[in-house]
Amino acid sequence: MSDAPRPWPPAGSALVTGASRGIGAAIARGLAADGWQVGVNYNSRSQDAQAVVAEIEQSGGSAVVIQGDVSSPQAPDAIFGALEDHFGLPVLALVNNAGISRDNLAPSLTDEEWGDVIDTNLTAPFRFTRRALRGMMRARTGRIVNIASVVGLRANPGQSNYGAAKAGLIQFTRTAAVEVARRGVTINAVAPGWIDTDMTAGVNPELLAAVPAKRAGTADEVAACVRFLLSEQAGYVTGAVLAVDGGLGA
């Protein structure tokens, strides 16, 4: 399609939602190391987000913090606008990482617990993807990675809302990927299993016995997969779900 080889990363920036800590922070650091100019989105943890940016800058990378609650319908325009203004570049890589959990058994799950998780973990990635595709389709290149979960593939009691959102995110990923594939845009999902982060801190460690690898994964191990999917070499990988779970979903 293209007449001349394009540089990689392309002349665009990368946005990582929910990047103040955990998996999102590891992804932001990794993409900056790969040469992307990174937008570090956060909702409430301003100091943590600023620390991620400071660390990236100390390593010679380029990043900026962008506050915004991804579940707001106005968030995509506001966050993309801020990032595009700051770097003067379109967003050509998007990692929908921000997520929440509101665990409860289905018989007692409240509408609010259901709705909050669907809004943040499914509707927000849809809106961010829609916003990102405008520029990516025109640029004839782009990379989107949605952070799903093994819980979207395999039942985990207490997480019917989270599992439903992540399963929905996986199928949204596949369908949108097929729709835009011929524009040079890839959309993939990464499905982490048990990763050592604040989100899994309260979980019963006995559950680790079910993980074939017999250990928790690290945020950097998830970030490594995202970095691959955002690389030039991954241009023919689209609509895929890459599990990073020590074999839990196998």
């Binding site: 405008r134 389709m137 025109r138 729709e179 835009v180 011929r182 524009r183």
Partner: protein, 81 residues
């Protein structure tokens, strides 16, 4: 918003459609999208270009009614007036 001429719209529509595959000289006002192999994703992208550049919002229903390049140019020109 200032009005744009039909010629300007025509030129921009042809440029956009050509970027989707067909040769520019095939893109006449009488040519149908079907003949040009312009599909629904192409029409979505065309609508977004028109929205970004002329502030004219074309919805899915608007696009479904369009059969030829000339239909699209006429609609956009009328809405942008």
């Amino acid at each position: 918003m200032s009005a744009v001429s039909k010629e300007q719209v025509q030129e921009r529509v042809v440029e956009a459609l050509a970027s989707f595959g067909p040769d520019a000289d095939q893109i006449t006002p009488e040519a149908t999208f079907e003949e040009l192999d312009i599909d629904s994703l192409d029409l979505v992208e065309l609508a977004q270009i028109i929205e970004d550049e002329y502030g004219v919002v074309l919805k899915g229903d608007d696009m479904k009614e369009l059969k030829t390049v000339g239909d699209a140019v006429d609609l956009i020109t009328a809405r942008a007036a």
